[in-house]
Subunit: 764 residues, 2 copies
């Protein structure tokens, strides 16, 4: 945690004053996206200081070969690199022929950035004195349109403050970009054609190897004192860049504005040979609306999103800013409208991790989308995995599993595994469990059972098959064991009998068996179809059952806790509190072997199991395990604080719950893990939502009934959230004096509040 330069504000992220050391952090924090594309908050004008340039297109990646040095059977062929895409936001600026560059100006003042989350735009204002003595005021605003999701728009205005000036705008698009995480000097794009048509410019480019075809485009309009002017364009182009130069004499205090429209069209949505003409249509439409009309539409689109997903917090502006930042970024990343996309761990804000889909989607994101959008979005996310089932079976087959057992990839873009560490790819197999759990969770929340006979059961069977085959029998202990895994705590690798993994494996088998029975009873034609397709026998099911029944769980009688894994107690058990602060974060300070042999836990592991299967454990058991494991937990995974916040709230430790809440909600804003420069932690933001709704609000679904156990941190006046439960939208207002439930629509609903049944009617 090393920054508090973000100014607290309920609806905006605001930075005041220019600090070149914060540029990369701010580029992450002020990122914008619209579900189809996104970009870091790079400056439009040239900047010669430290910067991390990034613009990303959903679904566009590069298969970085993983065959470096040694090789292991079953390794994926590639690591899916999130690819920096051609830059369309660039506008070079000359003032009397001197380049505007905040890194070289004589003076920069009144610098202010604002990411307006309510309306969905990013602005930047500043005054600068150039080396030539001319002082200018700059006001830039941009957004990526939700209405036209291939379009972004920029308004960039300069006012000379102390003299007349010749101002030159050189908007450009540049395909000569590279990746932050490249080796040596690799190139990832083949530029196919640079062209121009009237005032529109296009660069057609294709990713190497994966051959995604894209067209990046731009068109600009000029205004003096807000009146459109015709300025002749001097066009220039190279093999991978095209620019237009507009030059105008501007009087002191007159404004000179450029509206630049740009974006991408891709062959996932269009014929690859028609990309330029499709780009032209998109641009024509955007230009005909104009910047201001598009911006109005943007505000409307965001108002609609917020009407369902907003969480308000009264009396704690930092907490309010945090939760809105999380909800805003989730919606910038994924809107549920394109079934082939998913929720990448860095969204469109950086390149780290690669790939787009992790178990984060099932374990963290689905509850958020399920409750704040139509349940169809959650079902789309489940179907994403159903559509990848054949590839998950292939993936398991590569590792030697048979008979239709499935191992879903740790990371994927298209169903194929694209992560290249054996201890993760081959061993962090608990991900299979989250995918099954999401089916259960979806059914529990929506009561839509239809998904299971139609699609889900096949996934459950394939996953149960995997677990049965993956377990091995130890004659020494007379139990089934799961050896050689990496649990949710990735700071231990290739361990034996990870409690969470063994527990979810057992649960998956039992849940699959249970649903086979339900489908057999209630959906016989689906049962027959599925049985024919995947061909299971009673003998096979009996084998599953024996693995589930005789699963081994390491337990310490001395500490009266389940052990995270067999060898946990052999470690040097020094708590985090006793660890020198200079050693943290350990993932930046320590070599991998040192981390592995330490007791430090990256994220909830045993406690993650207690969260998902809470009904199986008493509160006393939870408390004992919380007290045993939390002191060794460094929370260096973004997915950790949210689960701890929920558990602490359950244990009525509200101060601790609040601390964890701040940590999860402001993880990036306050840069707890010293890495926000690399991009934001998108998927854990759904965990932040859970920490309020499930943690403080205590929301659960029990026996088809929505239940709450509202609590409130002592510094808050009130907070509220909305939930779309089975097509009924209920608003929960919690204050220090009590809780109010408000219901939209016509029918009333019975809920549980602190265990007691309450009927909520459409009027309060």
């Amino acid at each position: 945690m090393n920054q508090d330069y973000i100014i607290p504000n309920e609806w905006s992220i605001i930075e005041e004053g220019f600090n070149s050391e914060k540029v990369k952090s701010s580029e992450s924090l002020f990122s914008i996206g619209n579900g189809a594309m996104g970009q870091r908050a790079n400056f439009e004008e040239n900047y010669s200081g430290e910067t991390f340039q990034g613009s990303y297109i959903g679904g566009v990646y590069y298969p970085d070969k993983t065959r470096v040095g040694w090789w292991k059977n079953g390794y994926p062929e590639y690591f899916a690199k999130v690819l920096n895409a051609p830059n369309w936001i660039g506008i070079n600026v000359l003032i009397n022929e001197e380049k505007l560059d905040l890194n070289t100006c004589k003076e920069v003042s009144k610098f202010k950035r604002e990411l307006n989350m309510q309306e969905g735009w990013l602005s930047r204002d500043f005054e600068a004195v150039l080396q030539n003595g001319i002082k200018i005021k700059v006001a830039a605003k941009r957004f990526l349109s939700l209405e036209l999701d291939e379009i972004g728009a920029i308004s960039y205005t300069i006012t000379p403050l102390n003299s007349d000036a010749k101002i030159t705008y050189i908007p450009y698009i540049d395909a000569g970009i590279t990746n932050e995480d490249t080796n040596w000097d690799d190139q990832f794009w083949d530029v196919l054609k640079v062209s121009q048509n009237n005032q529109q410019s296009y660069i057609e480019a294709r990713t190497m190897k994966t051959h995604f075809y894209t067209c990046t485009f731009m068109e600009s309009r000029l205004f003096v004192d807000n009146k459109e002017v015709e300025v002749p364009c001097k066009s220039e182009q190279t093999s991978n860049l095209i620019s237009c130069t507009y030059q105008q004499e501007i009087k002191e205090n007159e404004t000179f504005t450029i509206h630049k429209f740009g974006g991408y069209v891709v062959d996932r949505n269009h014929d690859k040979d028609a990309l330029v003409s499709v780009a032209k249509v998109a641009l024509d439409k955007a230009v005909s609306f104009g910047f201001d009309v598009l911006l109005e539409k943007q505000k409307e689109s965001w108002a609609q999103i917020w009407s369902m997903s907003d969480i308000t917090i009264e009396g704690d502006v930092k907490a309010q800013q945090g939760i809105r930042f999380n909800i805003f970024q989730l919606n910038q990343t994924y809107l549920g409208t394109d079934a082939s996309l998913n929720i990448g761990p860095k969204g469109f804000t950086g390149e780290k991790y690669g790939g787009s889909t992790y178990w984060d989607t099932e374990a963290y994101c689905i509850p958020f989308y399920m409750a704040t959008k139509d349940q169809a979005v959650a079902r789309t996310l489940l179907e994403y995995r159903y559509n990848h089932l054949d590839k998950a079976i292939e993936n398991a087959a590569k590792l030697g599993f048979t008979n239709g057992a499935a191992l879903y990839p740790m990371v994927t873009m298209n169903g194929e595994e694209c992560h290249n560490e054996w201890e993760i790819t081959f061993e962090e197999i608990h991900r299979n469990g989250a995918i099954a759990f999401a089916i259960y969770n979806y059914h529990r929340f929506t009561d839509d059972y239809s998904y299971i006979p139609e699609k889900g059961l096949e996934v459950l069977i394939a996953i149960a098959r995997f677990w049965q085959q993956r377990a091995t029998f130890s004659s020494d202990k007379n139990k089934f064991m799961i050896l050689g895994v990496t649990g949710p705590n990735e700071y231990e690798n290739n361990i034996n009998n990870n409690f969470y993994t063994n527990y979810i494996a057992k649960w998956c088998i039992n849940y699959a068996l249970e649903n086979i029975e339900v489908v057999k009873t209630d959906h016989i034609s689906d049962y027959i179809r599925i049985k024919e397709k995947v061909n299971f026998s009673d003998e096979e099911l009996a084998k599953w059952k024996s693995v589930a029944d005789d699963m081994y769980f390491p337990y310490s009688e001395k500490h009266n806790v389940y052990l995270q894994q067999d060898g946990f107690l052999d470690k040097e058990l020094i708590t985090v509190a006793d660890l020198d602060k200079s050693q943290r974060p350990i993932n930046q300070k320590w070599s991998w072997d040192r981390i592995l042999r330490s007791p430090y836990i990256k994220q909830a592991d045993t406690l993650q199991g207690f969260y998902m299967f809470e009904d199986d454990f008493s509160t006393e058991e939870l408390e004992r395990h919380f007290d045993f494991y939390e002191p060794y937990t460094v929370h260096e995974s973004s997915l950790s604080p949210c689960v701890h916040s929920i558990q602490a709230a359950k244990l009525d430790r509200m101060d601790q719950a609040y601390t964890f809440y701040l940590r999860t909600s402001r993880l990036d804003l306050d840069d707890y893990n010293h890495e926000v420069e690399e991009g934001l932690h998108i998927t854990s933001m759904a965990g932040t939502w859970m920490s309020i709704v499930e943690g403080f609000g205590g929301m659960r679904v029990q026996n088809n009934t929505l239940s709450f156990a509202p609590k409130i941190p002592k510094g808050w006046k009130a907070y509220s959230f909305k939930v779309n439960f089975r097509h009924q939208v209920i608003t929960v207002n919690v204050s220090q004096t009590g809780t109010e439930f408000t219901l939209e629509g016509k029918e009333s609903i019975d809920i549980l509040v602190d265990g007691e049944q309450v009927t909520v009617s459409p009027s309060k």
Copy 2:
């Protein structure tokens, strides 16, 4: 084990009959080298069938970036790729303008390859009918000179058998080569200049990134019926290839011969700007000798090597061929003449593994070189590590170790770690132990203590420091543990308390402590110098001692054995005999996770410890552990059968010892592990030598006395080997009826035979 096409012969490796499916295997088996360079047995003329082209220069490598996808702190920056070097052996052949290509000939007959190990040359003879109906006889012979180690020579003769023919020789050198193990389409060489001077051709090229400068060169001479002829050369060159075309009308049954001289000069030995002139000198010398004289010198050089290192076996030609093949390849790889080189695991026969120096050198190779060459060669190998001590300390510091602790690299070219798997690089730390053990072994064998005060003690101290810091204290067990390691059995990773590792760690600390005392007592000035330099205190030594004294060793009371690691008994203990044969070799059939959770042992692990520290264990203990572990051992490391052969011989299980001997000595010749195409297993060949000398011969050094316990496999008439023990060369002849010792020189020597003292005098 899938080939028995190599014809048994005492002195030669012979293949008869052309089989295109064996080409890649034979290219490995018939490889030649001279310590400075080496090459696979690729054909001189064009071959369009499946082939693995390889020519390698000692010390020339490429740093392949390891930053693919994820990254861990402390990772090495690069993996050292063994680089395929420009090809200088190529001679394209046209017969009446038709290209000679064994893959497209109408008929190939009388095909015979011979690798003559006694004299150090490779020949290939065949007859072929081309598509144009012309039948020719071809006789090719080549060698890499030991006398002039930058030079190789080829004699290539064609005789048209059924008509006159126009024969064209196009000798060339080609720098447009790539690597077998390349990703995508990477290039590794920058060609700097292609040039010619009279009849000599040169290509100067530089490796990318590492910037090793080389000059590859050639010069040819032509002969008709063995009389030199002047044939005009038509020279051609491209940006990375240069060739000379010699055309001659040859009568039926006349011979047309080309002698081609070629090779490399490198900037490790010469000024990089003088490489062409140095190449000229080398070529001039080679050409002035001529092929036949050079070949005579080659025979003499090899005769000298054999005079000391030969092992004879009577009554078992396959066994004889095997041991000579092993000794031959060791000498082709390393001669102890260049202190910057070492013994790469594939020598000059392939690219796999990368790097040049592994713990194989200390654990396997030093005993061979120590006993068959002057002990100075062994000392040079020890000094190689002393010279890398600073880098080993840096390497440990990267991983967080302090105070001059050293972790030697798992793989290196120059002292830097260049292996990129964390479970090896960071965790296969037992390698440090072998480096200390080699110092002990050298002193035990040579009685040259001077190395320890001069250099070795610093290495021992740095290694002891590492072990003390690497151990952690388990309060649960009240013992020091070594968590998170990979033992010699690389089929288990990140395990806890590997018996071998813990044992050698304890031994290293005790050995360092012991030598600090000896040096303090007997070499006080060295002691003062070292203490000043590395600054150890009594408190520090006490810490070392407590780790050694309280080291934990996992033990099973039930089986009465030390456990290879804490979790071994939790595995599904199915013996190799009960494993379906179709599943083997498991490293080709199974994914990594499956291997890791299996009980299968790649190479001696606990038994490796019993081998190195045999005096610490009774024969009964050895037997119990052998019987427990060997049934789970798949011997998929080339380093496994030799140790098992030695242990079986010690246990008087001569049939088993013999089986293991065949497996180690003919590992490549009979391709036990289905991978000889990739190159030979060089370092384990020293283990083969040990399996005869230490296994069957029972040679040990006990209290400064050479001791033997000779045994002989029942199928052998006799065997003999020589040992250079402290400048006395003793020959041991073992037959079914007894053992004869012969001594060179003037002084007699007392040895132990089966525990009884025997005096051997210079005459028998």
